[in-house]
Symmetry: D2
Subunit: 460 residues, 4 copies
């Protein structure tokens, strides 16, 4: 097995902060020590670098077919982009058909995902749950798919009624699996959409107006109430609204195991992007929408103090040309923004540099929390003996400016265009293999492995 | 016009407390004074009595057809019972058919209600609201029906989706009308019902288990969120759960005009009634269900400090024989309990006697608040010059023991059987006519009038 | 006895709103009726006017000797000013000496107050409470002085330790009396003062900086905690800070009988007055200080929804010349602003006109609540048969512009200079006597009477 | 240097959980690895054991002279007891005299503490802070004494006014030091004590009645308000009351860096101990007092979810004979209970075994949090390369029953007598030296070192 010795780095985990050497053998960390003897195949000098666990993005949509378009990153380009930004694991989604079983969709997804260059897991989206499919949930858990996503929005395609969500929560919890919810009030949104379209209001600036804070906060409260009644944990994806976040906070205070994820677009972008009503706003159309600027700071703070636990991306890029599908009708704009490549950039600059987060907190929200919540810990999410050697050398003295022109994500714009990050990854190692050195890709298509995830892992 | 002089009573309104004489001419109070000269057709000595505005019960269901049964009080017996307990106004409900217009149902209701012995208004229950019926809402408001009730429960019969509720709130608010909501989560309840029945759990004690606190609190939060977004007031009927009440409190604290009603059965009865699993529990089956004993005190307190505003009854009696329809299947038990006759009894004993409420608060919750919220003030709800002479002489030294054997309500049991109230009405006057003297009925069928209610009246 | 008939006014109490005639005989209201026969000595046409109970200002400091200066209104000029603005009752303060008994100070105060033109009561300020003075508290209650004020500030002159405050609360409560607290943290303030003076920061703009929000909010929380432990009610005077108000709200929500008073200067003035650091700011020096503009709206809202109950003034005017005593040392500026003349003006314009309060709420906060809290109801605080004929005709069509040049308050400036109020009193009647007609004073020195107040009156 | 190899243990830090070997050289951990080669002086088989960082007790009072008595453990016996229970670091207190400088007291303490068998730091208690002593605070920080404790109780001996506490907070914060507060309201307590003694109520059961929840919660709120105003962090020692804890929670939610410590006696004991009024209660007299049973669970929960951060003991044992000093006057009972030996026992049994804490949380509250807050991390508080080899092998299969008869703490009773803990330390290593093997002491008097602690360490 190939061995690697990483010398003198400042090792950061969610708790620790110390200088030592790391010896990697094959896929795993074999030992950590002061002045380890240097007989490795390869030695990397990490002096002056933070040596952190590779990031985990628990919410991506690679090559997602939304009907009129397919998200522009496939699993190869998307995972290369992820790795470039310091992320060495993604968890993507597979969607059950409204009328069919879950495995059918899963097999197709597995075939697509094989070209990934970093490890990957998958969540199952439940679109339909008659009682005779409950046993399929159990089977999937046995196969390492230990989280299920449901929607309170999109009545015609994905929305489940509260009774079905409660049923799924109960069943998942029995098996130690976790329910995730896209929490927006579908009926309320559709009311607003119908009203706007009837009034001829079709430009992208009506997208956020059709999905108000109240729509997200209400649905968040509701699914938490269901979870509380079921005695089950619940994970709210892509929390965009400070009011939805408040619901998670209130629930946690009263002892409910409610968890929340937010995304770079809700932390670092603001609704001014839509303000002029031009079609330029289409590039920022995602759901939930990007909120007003005053909404940012509460979310940053929540992420800093563990009211929200994870930073994901909901990465789902569409090209400017694909976005054109919604010219004349904002509801037809393919929803989504890119993010997987810049997630850790945004967290580092906004959290560590600008808001004084410890590097421990940076690691916690970009990696450890997701590993613990989604059954990957301690294989992923930390720097410890026996863990996968998913290691990033983050150089605090290596500025990086985000530019669409130089990104690996396969899309023609970047929402953070021109933003400079004070530090960035100088080396990205995935299961012992260096796949990025500075900004040069050294990996190999298909190098990533499917992750069978564990259960019972919600106690972060 | 007939004149009446009420001498030396202790006059109580929501604010005042003083001794004076009241001179009534015809239907109305003509003057109030110290030692008014005594030239009336009839003089009543009120020394030692509280002279209070007649009660208003804003939530009754007289001769309601629920399919398999009709509630056992018709408008005559029910309004006599009301008057016996000191209530001189009711507001009943008419239910739109799921497929039809609102007026159709209204006309039938008007015909039934004509035999009332006290004045009566009506709320319209919306079961269906396509856009082309919106103008019918407007018309009804013009006819004095200025409040609309909707359901978040009973998916197959009455439940409206959140978009429709929002639409109705918006429309009602534009016209100064008020939306009322029966707030329980229908899908969640139906999930539990189906589960219990599938498990062979069919006895009345499963009724409360199928309608947990969370179901009511969640729906209450949700409709308040809709109202807040619409900028409209909202009135939650029959709040049974302290957690639902907490949602109203939180909303009011942040400035939302949320109002709440509770009922005697939630204040003075407890779920022990269901506990033994026998069919005796059927007589206490109503929705929401009666809660555990520890739930009572928070509701009393909320009613005392204006977190809840009104005390109504949801009066809907069914005989023990009618309740038998649900033997073997608790969902088939006709839902409802009697209450209209004892509402003020329970408020007096529990509020004034046992919890130290001022008589002002007693008047506020039994009469004034409903008058202000539902467009009847100052015609109803107070003792003032120009107001209807709906006047009760409440004698603090006239104990009354509640007994089915002697009640006017037409049903064979009373949930409060044997409860003694320290004081009770010695004289009940409705629009200038004495209709009860001690416990003797002196009124006349059809004496009550339909009340065309006003709008814009939510600022209690 | 002289009789007066007030015809056709729109009578407003804290609850009612109706048109009727009022017949006054001597000091009291004798009867209220529709079209009362017109045999009075004097008839006043009130058509188009609001007929409201005279205002009660429960916090004034007439001719108060603060050592270096005496507040510029004596009881005659000050009560004329009050009446001009619609206030027909004041409650002033007498201060026990630090070393002596309470009655000594009281006798002097009584002598001064005799020249009042409206009725007046008094609160006792306790500056010292050894156990042997506890019986004097009891005696005062018997004499109609049923409220006691204490300070948590001014360590060298007035501050009492928490144990003494607790002792006083316990004793007062036993007798049905009410404790009032000036709640600011004295030690914290003195720390800041010493620091500023040591740094040569002596201008008026350091006054507010030496008394931060936290100082007021902390002390408010503390005295409420003491009251809660004692099981006693507590009344916080001159709440200036939204954070102090939040403490009152939180206490009330958990059932503590905490009451709060605010003043026009905290509602309608903002700290910009101090901003330029010039000595002009001295005219706005009062304690607590006037806060930043964003603090106003939460106080208005609290007063509107009964989180705060009363609007008082802390009226304590000093002339610009008197204020000069503090040039070069802001701590020597005599503390206080005028207000008694404009209290109801500010409430009407800010509450009714600008924020949509009902006239009922206006009456409640300017009159009824103080009457109920301080043992004056129903003699004062309402329009009812048997109540004192303290009646104001408030003309909504009679604008009034506040100007020092035309005010009755004896001071050379007005903090609200130039503010126009949409309506104002056209007639002010105190115990049956018209003492203002439009802006003409018709009263008589010494016409006011000392009010022996009742106990047990905290349940507003 | 002596080397030790700890093989195959399950290593637990605040974040990690993995199996590996640890190689110790001299005082420190040199490397961690899978199957490290075995060339150590000593090899310890840790298979089946949790390998955790040695505990840190940040609140002890060894050989404390309280006037009438000296706490019964000296630094030798007390630190042996600590080590027996898995604690390898203590932080004790030195008390400035009311009139003197701080160093005087410090020198005497240093001389006493030299006999410790584990490492020790010290907090300085400020009893007096004229401005000319502020520079002494600065000097102490330079000497590694980076935390200062103050009292809001004991007016005659230790209590500081709020201005002085604010001054100290401001100064400490400037230098990165942390202020700790004993938060109870001294005046309120003294009021109750005087009242009880005057009434002849002198038995130990009056101790808790003289120190009510409100006294602690109020003072906690107050010092947090001071800290918030100062922009400084604050650490509340020995939180006994759920209501005090609520204040910490509320502060943290609004972003204040408030930290709280609780103790085993507040988690595992209840006020029944005092209930019979006998003098047996004296053995449970400590301040704050032990609370009612319903108070326990909220504290456990707070410690579990980081509302409280640390578990300390306030270890201050007095023998039954010493407690006799307070017979006839509960205020003369020497205050304090033993705890240092059982702190981790109670946390393990109550937290991990009974309440499902992860072992990570156990490590966090017993070690890591204190290390981070008090400037000892990463030297103490974790298992990492470069850290001190303070390592405990906690054997989950080695039950231990707490018995005074077999304890190392030098006192004749144990408050937890008879309690069985499911697991316990089988090996305790302090800076590389095994000082306990099973229950056998192998250490050496004076082996512990004084810890110069760092600053700026409050961001746990």
């Amino acid at each position: 097995m190939t061995t690697t010795l990483i010398k003198n780095g400042r090792i950061i985990t969610a708790t620790e902060d110390y200088v030592a050497d790391i010896f990697v053998e094959g896929d795993q960390i074999k030992s950590i020590g002061a002045d380890l003897p240097g007989q490795a195949d390869r030695t990397i000098d990490a002096r002056g670098k933070y040596v952190i666990p590779g990031g985990i993005d628990p919410h991506t949509h690679m090559e997602l077919n939304v009907g009129a378009a397919i998200s522009s990153d496939d699993f190869e380009s998307g995972t290369i982009a992820a790795a470039h930004g310091g992320t060495t694991t993604i968890i993507d989604f597979v969607t059950q058909s409204r009328t069919g079983a879950m495995h059918a969709a899963l097999d197709a997804w597995r075939a697509q995902a094989e070209k990934s260059v970093i490890d990957y897991g998958v969540h199952m989206i439940i679109a339909n749950l008659p009682d005779d499919l409950l046993s399929e949930m159990d089977a999937l858990i046995g196969e390492g798919i230990t989280s299920f996503k449901m929607f309170t929005a999109y009545p015609d395609r994905l929305q489940l009624d509260d009774g079905t969500i409660f049923k799924a929560m109960t069943r998942a919890h029995t098996n130690g699996a976790l329910v995730m919810v896209h929490a927006e009030n579908g009926a309320l949104i559709d009311y607003h959409i119908a009203k706007f379209l009837a009034e001829g209001k079709t430009t992208p600036n009506y997208h956020p107006l059709s999905r108000p804070h109240a729509s997200e906060a209400e649905a968040t409260h509701r699914v938490i109430a269901l979870a509380e009644l079921a005695g089950a944990p619940v994970y709210i994806v892509h929390v965009s609204s400070r009011y939805a976040m408040d619901e998670i906070r209130a629930a946690r205070e009263r002892g409910v195991r409610a968890f929340g994820e937010t995304c770079p677009q809700y932390l670092a972008l603001a609704s001014e992007q839509y303000a002029d009503g031009s079609f330029d706003g289409a590039r920022f159309v995602c759901s939930p929408p990007i909120r007003e600027r005053a909404n940012q700071e509460p979310l940053w703070r929540a992420l800093g103090v563990d009211v929200l636990q994870t930073l994901a991306t909901d990465h789902c890029p569409f090209t400017t040309k694909q976005k054109e599908l919604g010219r004349g009708n904002f509801t037809k704009i393919p929803n989504g923004v890119p993010g997987v490549e810049n997630r850790m950039h945004i967290a580092y600059q906004g959290g560590v540099v600008q808001r004084g987060w410890s590097m421990n907190r940076f690691v916690q929200v970009t990696s450890t929390a997701a590993a613990k919540l989604f059954g990957l810990f301690p294989r992923k999410g930390t720097i410890a003996v026996g863990s996968d050697a998913d290691i990033v050398l983050w150089d605090p003295a290596r500025p990086y400016t985000i530019r669409a022109a130089t990104q690996f994500t396969r899309v023609d714009y970047n929402p953070y265009e021109g933003t400079t990050i004070d530090g960035s990854p100088s080396r990205v190692i995935a299961r012992g293999r260096v796949i990025f050195e500075d900004d040069k890709y050294l990996g190999k298509r298909g190098q990533g492995e499917f992750l069978r995830r564990g259960t019972g892992a919600v106690a972060v």
